[in-house]
Structures are given as structure tokens and as C-alpha cells.
């Protein structure tokens, strides 16, 4: 399969190039931020000599380009640098945070993706009838309400009034999986509601598009039931657009959870990032930015690869 291989290699190379470009943008972006790192570390009362010393120490007087390559060189070896404020190794403290964020995103995806696709199939099966309209209305309503508001509403009713789930989602390594899951039940619910509508509507649209095809008529004339026609004959041909949207939303689950993590005081990347942005801790912000970008680019690359692989013409050339 030389053509297939060529396409895949091209796509992966493009992803890496994109990541490199983004790293440059992040570095440049954090450098033009207003404010002075030295000043924010030492506070308003610092003497000019102390500021100059710490700048020298942090290497802030070096030209930007050489600092960029130093930083990039470290990245390639897995060294994200040290946090300015705490002096800790960023990779180490980020590691457990990232693990927690991925844990939350994973379980949100496990709930949201199959649910969205199933609801999409259901909406197609009963298109233009009340189940379709109900699904559309509910999912659209849930995406339209800001996620922090959904968070607080769920917290108040499900957490406080009914007492079904904890309102604060603290997790640590000593907890069992069951305890962890029960702890993140509410943020998972919020995230699911946020990403559901987009994936559901894309599934519906992609499948409806395929439903116009002649082979759907063939399937109907074979005496298959409507749901069999949709699931067996329409879905396999709508994989590419659906996977694209699913991946975009998975990326959002990792990158966009900042607000939800803060609302539920969940010890993930989002909180870590927000903390350090307010402290103007540039190396940490850069590291977080790069990881978010890598997740985004990586998942979209996976979506493209799946789309390429889902095409039988590329998978089985003549």
C-alpha cells in the first residue's frame, strides 16, 4: 500500500511541522506579554541591583532566539525547565496534573462519544419527528448554557440537595478507581453535556447525507429494518466526518476543561495553568501551552489518519 503509506507519512510530518511552528508562536507570545518576571518574583520593593541579578540568573538578558533554541532543546529531551516561582521541576509537577486531566477527559469521552453517536443514530431514525426534535433541543440547550453555570446548577441540585455526588472533586493516588469515579461524577456530567450536541449533530448530518445514496435504497429493498440500514450501511460511510468532530471534542475535553476544573477544584492541568498565569510564571505557561497544542494537533492528526484509513479505496487499491 505505497499510496496509503505516503499519505500517512505526509500527514504525520505535517503534524510535527505544525507543532514546531506552534512552539515558536507560544515562545514569542509569552515573551511579548506585558510585565517583568523578575519584578513579579521579587515584588514591588525590589532594588534595581536585585532585579538585575535575578535577570542574569534566569538568562533573561540572552537574545530571544538563543533562549528559544535552549528551551526547544530541553523540550526534545523531556526537560520542560523549572518553575520560576517555586523552583520545582515543571515536568514532575505537570506529570501528575496531566494524568488527572487525562483521567477526567477519558471518562468524559467514554460517556459522551458513544452517547452522542447513539443519539445521532436515533435522531436519524426518527428524523423530523419528536425524538429527533427532543434530542436536538436538549443537546442544544445544554451546549448553550455556560459550563460553569451547568456546573453550579448540578452542584446545587445533585450534590447539595440530593447528595448523590460530591461537590468537590478532589482525587489522589490513594483512592480506588470507584472512589475516583464517584468523585469526578459531576465534572464528567458537565463535560458530557458541553460536548454532546456538537458530536450528535455532526453524526446526524453526516448520516443523513449518506442516506440519500443509492446503496441505502438497496439496503432498504433487502428488507432490513431502518435501524439496521442506518447502523450497517450508513454509519460505516460517515466515519470520516464523525471522527473529525469527535477528535475536536476530545481535544476540547483536555484543553478546555480549565473552567470546569476550577469550578470543581479538580487538581488538573487547568488549575495549574491558571495559578501560574496569575503569577506570571512564564516557563510553566509555555509548557502548559505546548502540551495543550500537542494534544490538539495529535488528536486532529489521529482524526485525519482514521479518515484516510476509513476510505476503502485507499485501504484496498485496485
Amino acid at each position: 500500500m505505497p499510496l496509503l503509506l505516503k499519505l500517512l507519512v505526509q500527514r504525520i510530518a505535517l503534524g510535527l511541522l505544525l507543532l514546531l511552528t506552534v512552539s515558536g508562536l507560544i515562545f514569542w507570545g509569552t515573551n511579548i506579554l506585558p510585565g517583568d518576571v523578575a519584578q513579579s518574583i521579587l515584588g514591588q520593593s525590589a532594588t534595581p541591583e536585585a532585579l538585575a541579578n535575578i535577570r542574569e540568573e534566569l538568562g533573561l538578558n540572552e537574545p530571544a532566539l538563543s533562549r528559544y533554541f535552549d528551551w526547544l532543546g530541553g523540550l526534545v529531551q523531556g526537560d520542560l525547565g523549572t518553575a520560576l516561582t517555586s523552583g520545582q521541576d515543571i515536568a514532575a509537577s505537570l506529570g501528575s496534573r496531566l494524568k488527572n486531566t487525562l483521567f477526567l477527559a477519558f471518562w468524559a469521552a467514554v460517556v459522551a462519544v458513544p452517547l452522542a453517536i447513539f443519539l445521532g443514530l436515533l435522531a436519524v431514525r426518527y428524523r423530523e419527528r419528536w425524538p429527533d426534535k427532543l434530542i436536538s433541543a436538549v443537546t442544544l440547550a445544554s451546549i448553550s448554557v455556560p459550563e460553569f453555570l451547568i456546573g453550579y446548577i448540578l452542584m446545587y441540585f445533585v450534590g447539595v440537595k440530593l447528595g448523590w455526588a460530591p461537590t468537590v472533586s478532589m482525587i489522589h493516588d490513594g483512592m480506588s478507581l470507584g472512589q475516583k469515579l464517584s468523585s469526578i461524577a459531576l465534572p464528567v456530567a458537565v463535560l458530557t453535556m458541553v460536548v454532546l450536541a456538537h458530536m450528535m449533530r455532526m453524526t446526524r448530518a453526516a448520516i443523513l447525507n449518506v442516506m440519500q445514496s443509492a446503496y441505502i435504497e438497496t439496503a432498504e429493498l433487502k428488507g432490513l429494518t431502518s435501524f439496521q440500514v442506518i447502523a450497517r450501511h450508513a454509519l460505516p460511510n460517515s466515519i470520516a466526518p464523525i471522527v473529525n468532530v469527535v477528535m475536536l471534542n476530545l481535544a476540547y475535553l483536555v484543553v478546555g476543561v480549565v473552567v470546569v476544573e476550577v469550578v470543581f477544584t479538580y487538581p488538573g492541568m487547568g488549575q495549574y495553568l491558571v495559578d501560574h498565569v496569575s503569577k506570571r510564571d512564564v516557563p510553566v505557561v509555555q509548557a502548559c501551552g505546548l502540551i495543550f497544542a500537542a494534544v490538539y494537533i495529535g488528536l486532529n492528526m489521529v482524526a485525519d489518519i482514521v479518515s484516510i484509513l476509513a476510505n476503502p479505496r485507499l485501504r484496498h487499491p485496485k
Binding site: S213, A214, Y215, E217, T218, A219, E220, L221, K222, G223, L224, T225, Q228, H233, P236, N237, A310, P312, R313, H316, K318
Partner: protein
């Protein structure tokens, strides 16, 4: 009569249409059609588009395509009335008792699934056969239908087999569950004439071997004459005539039927070529961008003022590519195009506007060759502005003249393409080409998408316009009947080469080369037993070799 497999009584079918800017309204497609079909018999349904053929065919499965609805009458299959039954019972009938073969197998096979899986799906769904038995049956059918590698062809995906093979796979799909009735809906229309003959024979043999009854739907009377026992002629949802195949072909009672029978008999005396051609293509070789093989090899031909050069061949033979090279859309790699003694730039971009004006095109799909949001007046007026700078009253006068030329009249000026019939759309495209006052018009399969009687009128119009304007036509077609009706010279193309070239009389008289012989003998003739004769003849020839 009572033991008929299929009984259709006073079948009425309607649909709701949504004309733009108007209220939806209901129209009738079929007004009360009745017929019987006995076990093992084949009934041909014939008529132009809009006659209701496919709609009737699908009604035997109680299926309405799109917004089509069966509004009245009865359909009895195996002694059961099916229009009143539940969807659940219908599903038991569809795909097992009655099956369907569509015009385009390429579109009707799911591109994401293997052929075998799709061929046996209905049998397994209905629990008629086990997976193993169904597969064995499918392989048996693949063998009978003359498919290559019957054991393994089912493991391929639809895009991995040719159009003719896929159409046979579709027949296998329909026959696999041992149905009582198969509806063949134009199963060979989309195929090349040389492929059609094999598929036609395979279908006929399969029908005979399995003893299945069939409805054979087509617009081509010569084709249906080969496979059916009886023929029913339909027109605009009404039955015109119903009789044995012999009676319909040889002694049609109705005028409309005799029109259909005689439509192919149009003759045209070919003119000899003049001394100086208006355009010559000299030793042209071409390939598409990004590929590394030539699609045209050393192609040469001449166009003469007031004459028609027909380019014939099957799909992929390079007919349309030759036209693209002529217009400069695809620059030739080698060779040249000479127009009135000067060499034209190979690339479109290197040609002067006046050179572009001299070569105009008319396409197969008039539908997509026009901007749906422009009126007929705007469409025809555009070349007048572009090439001659015409404005205002002068332009409108010319548009009116052109509309007269295509026998439509000025009242069509404000209509949109969607408000025209297929034939009228093609006429507008002809007017648009004529508006540029070209010396050459390339007609690319301009009648292929039209019904025979409409196509006949378009050919007449083209012929009359040629006599008056002395324009040269490059007429691309796969239909040899059309060639006979319009050509002065003929170029036969095969795999990117011109295999035979000359005046019509030369090309169509023996001795033939192998490919031209195959092509000519594959054109269905409107007489009974033609198919068997040809197949028998070929068998003997190959045995002789």
C-alpha cells in the same frame, strides 16, 4: 390468470412536489395501470423518462422512492395483496420474494463493504440460508454470470471490479435469495455497448436457469426485445400498448409505439471531406497532470466546415480527452492543433479570445452546464457580451433570434433552467454555443441523457443549424445509431488511439478491424433473436481461431 405470480390492478401512484416559491402540490405519476405476470416470464416495461416505469417496478415491492406514494389500486404477489400489509410483512417480502437490480450498480453497492457480504445479506437477514449455503450459492451465481474468479471476487470491494462486473454482481445479489420476481431497472443503460452485450446475455441466461419471473425496465426497445416475452409501452403514467414482444416490434398497433420502433431508422448521407479542413489535430499525445502514462497516443483527425466528425468508442477510450486537448483545457504533450492554417497554442491561456470563440462546447449534462440561478436570457447573453461586447437592445434582439433558432421563442428568456425540460435545456446550451458564432462546436454525448424521441429532435436541430451556419461538429458519442444519423466522417477510438478513421461509408463497411467489428456488432438490433445470433457468432469465431 388466477395463478399469476404478480397481479397489478389499477395501480395509481402520486407524489408531492415542492416547486420553488409555490405551495406544495400533489401530482399523479401513474394513472391506473394493470397487468399480470406469470411464473418464469419476463415483462418489459418501456417508455421515456417520466413514463412511470421505475415507479411501477418499485411498487411491486410496495416501495416509493423519495416522496412517491402509492395512492390506489392493488398489487398481488404470490396471492397476497401487499399494498395494505404492514411494514413488518413488507420487509419479509423485500429482498427475498421480490428483489431489485438498479441502473447503477456502482452507486447501489455500499463502498465500505465487501461484495460477498452485500450479496448474501438479504438471504441471511431473512434466515433463508445459512451463511455457508448463501456463500456457496453466491459463488455458483458468480460462475453462471460469467464473472472472473468466482471463488474470490466476493472478497473484493465494489471499487475493485469493473462496471460491467459490478452490474453482474448486482444481478447475483438479486438472485441469491431465490426470489420469485426480480425487477431489473435499466440494468445495462450505464454500460458500454460492448459490455452491455455480455451483461445482457448473463442476465438472460440467469433468468432462464433459475426460472425466476422478471420485470425488465428500459427505455431501449432493442434491448428489451432481446430478453422479454411481453412488452408494455408506457407514456406519462398511462399504458399505451401491451402485447407479446413479437407483436410490439413487428406489428405495433399504436402510433407512439411505432415511433419508438422507427426512431433508429433515421438515415444521413455522408458528405465527402473538402480539401482544406477548418481544424486538424496532428499526432497529439497527452497525459493528465500528476500521472505518468499517456491517455492519448498519436491522435490525428480533421474537421471540415459544415460537416460532422463523429468520435466513437467506449468509456475511457479518450474521446472527451481529445476534445479537452482541442480546446486547450489539457495541453498536448506532443503534436499540434492547426486552425485555418495556423498552429494554436496548446494551452488555453496562450490563446487569443477570438481563438477561444471559434471553438465552443455542448455537454452531456445540460443540467449542470448551466448556472441554476441565471435566466435563459442571461445564459445566452453572456457570450454575446464577452466576445462581441453587445449591450442593451442589440443584445436582446440577438438573444431573441437565437431562441428562435433553437425553436423555443422569446418567452423563454426569463425562465430559469429548473423550469425547462431536458430537451429544452440542451437547446439552450446549443444556443449559448451558437451565440459565439464559432466555426467548431464540440458536442460531448449531447443526446446520451435524453429520451430517444427528444434526442432525435435535437439531432435534427443540430443538423439544420449546421446546414445554415456551416459550422463543423466534433460529435463525441458511444451510440452508433446516433453516429449513423449525423456523421460525415468517423474516428473510432480505443485505449487512447484512433483505430479506424475515414468517411462514414469507409468506416462502416467491411473489412473491419477487430475492435470496430466488436463495436458495430454489439449495437442491439430491433429484432427477436439478435442477442443469441451475435453470441453464437462470436463463439464460432473464437472456436475458429
Amino acid at each position: 390468470m388466477s395463478d399469476a405470480l404478480l397481479k397489478v390492478r389499477d395501480l395509481k401512484i402520486g407524489a408531492r412536489v415542492y416547486p420553488p416559491g409555490e405551495k406544495p402540490r400533489d401530482i399523479d405519476i401513474v394513472h391506473g395501470v394493470s397487468f399480470d405476470l406469470e411464473k418464469g416470464k419476463v415483462l418489459g416495461l418501456i417508455g421515456e423518462s417520466g413514463a412511470g416505469k421505475s415507479t411501477i417496478g418499485l411498487a411491486t415491492m410496495a416501495y416509493g422512492r423519495g416522496g412517491v406514494e402509492i395512492t390506489g389500486g392493488e398489487v398481488w404477489v404470490n396471492g397476497r395483496e401487499i399494498l395494505g400489509t404492514s411494514l413488518k410483512d413488507l420487509r419479509k417480502l423485500r429482498g427475498t420474494e421480490v428483489t431489485y437490480v438498479s441502473q447503477s450498480a456502482a452507486a447501489s453497492f455500499n463502498p465500505a463493504k465487501k461484495i460477498m457480504e452485500q450479496v448474501i445479506e438479504a438471504s441471511i437477514h431473512a434466515s433463508k440460508f445459512s451463511k455457508k449455503d448463501a456463500e456457496a450459492r453466491a459463488i455458483d451465481l458468480f460462475t453462471r454470470l460469467g464473472l472472473p474468479d468466482p471463488e474470490t471476487i466476493g472478497d473484493r470491494y465494489p471499487h475493485q471490479v469493473s462496471g460491467g462486473q459490478l452490474q453482474r454482481c448486482m444481478t447475483a445479489l438479486a438472485l441469491c435469495p431465490e426470489p420469485d420476481l426480480v425487477v431489473f431497472d435499466e440494468p445495462t443503460t450505464a454500460l458500454d455497448v460492448t459490455t452491455q452485450i455480455d451483461v445482457l446475455m448473463a442476465i438472460k441466461k440467469a433468468i432462464r436457469d433459475t426460472g425466476v419471473a422478471a420485470l425488465y425496465i428500459t427505455h431501449d426497445l432493442a434491448v428489451v426485445a432481446q430478453v422479454s416475452d411481453e412488452i408494455m409501452v408506457l407514456r406519462m403514467g398511462d399504458m399505451v400498448e401491451h402485447g407479446t414482444t413479437d407483436q410490439i416490434i413487428n406489428a405495433p398497433k399504436e402510433e407512439y409505439t411505432s415511433d419508438l420502433v422507427s426512431v433508429r431508422s433515421r438515415k444521413h448521407e455522408g458528405k465527402p471531406p473538402s480539401d482544406n479542413p477548418v481544424l486538424t489535430i496532428e499526432h497529439v499525445t497527452a497525459r493528465y497532470k500528476g500521472t505518468n502514462f499517456d491517455v492519448l497516443h498519436d491522435v490525428s483527425m480533421e474537421l471540415h466546415a459544415g460537416q460532422t466528425l463523429a468520435v466513437v468508442g467506449e468509456s475511457g477510450s479518450g474521446k472527451s480527452t481529445t476534445a479537452r486537448v482541442m480546446t486547450g483545457l489539457l495541453p498536448a504533450r506532443d503534436g499540434q492543433i492547426v486552425f485555418e492554417d495556423r498552429v494554436l497554442s496548446a494551452d488555453l491561456k496562450g490563446r487569443a479570445r477570438d481563438d477561444l470563440r471559434e471553438i465552443q462546447m455542448i455537454y452531456q449534462m445540460a443540467d449542470v452546464a448551466m448556472n441554476p440561478r441565471q435566466t435563459v436570457g442571461t445564459i445566452i447573453g453572456r457570450p454575446l457580451e464577452f466576445y462581441f461586447g453587445m449591450r442593451g437592445a442589440e443584445k436582446h434582439k440577438r438573444i431573441d433570434e437565437l431562441l428562435d433558432d433553437i425553436e423555443m421563442g422569446a418567452e423563454f428568456k426569463d425562465r430559469y433552467p429548473a423550469e425547462l425540460s431536458g430537451g429544452q435545456k440542451q437547446r439552450v446550451c446549443i444556443a449559448r454555443a451558437l451565440a459565439a458564432k464559432p466555426k467548431i462546436i464540440i458536442c460531448d454525448e449531447v443526446t446520451s441523457a435524453l429520451d430517444p424521441l427528444v434526442a432525435e429532435d435535437i439531432l435534427k436541430l443540430l443538423h439544420n443549424l449546421q446546414k445554415r451556419e456551416q459550422v463543423a461538429y466534433l460529435f463525441i458519442t458511444h451510440d452508433l445509431a446516433t453516429v449513423r444519423a449525423i456523421a460525415d466522417s468517423i474516428a473510432v477510438m480505443y485505449q487512447g488511439r484512433v483505430v479506424r478513421y475515414g468517411t462514414k461509408a469507409e468506416v462502416l463497411s467491411p473489412p473491419f478491424d477487430d475492435y470496430t467489428d466488436l463495436l458495430l456488432s454489439s449495437v442491439p438490433e430491433m429484432r427477436l433473436g439478435w442477442l443469441e445470433e451475435v453470441v453464437e457468432h462470436r463463439k464460432m469465431e473464437s472456436a475458429g481461431n
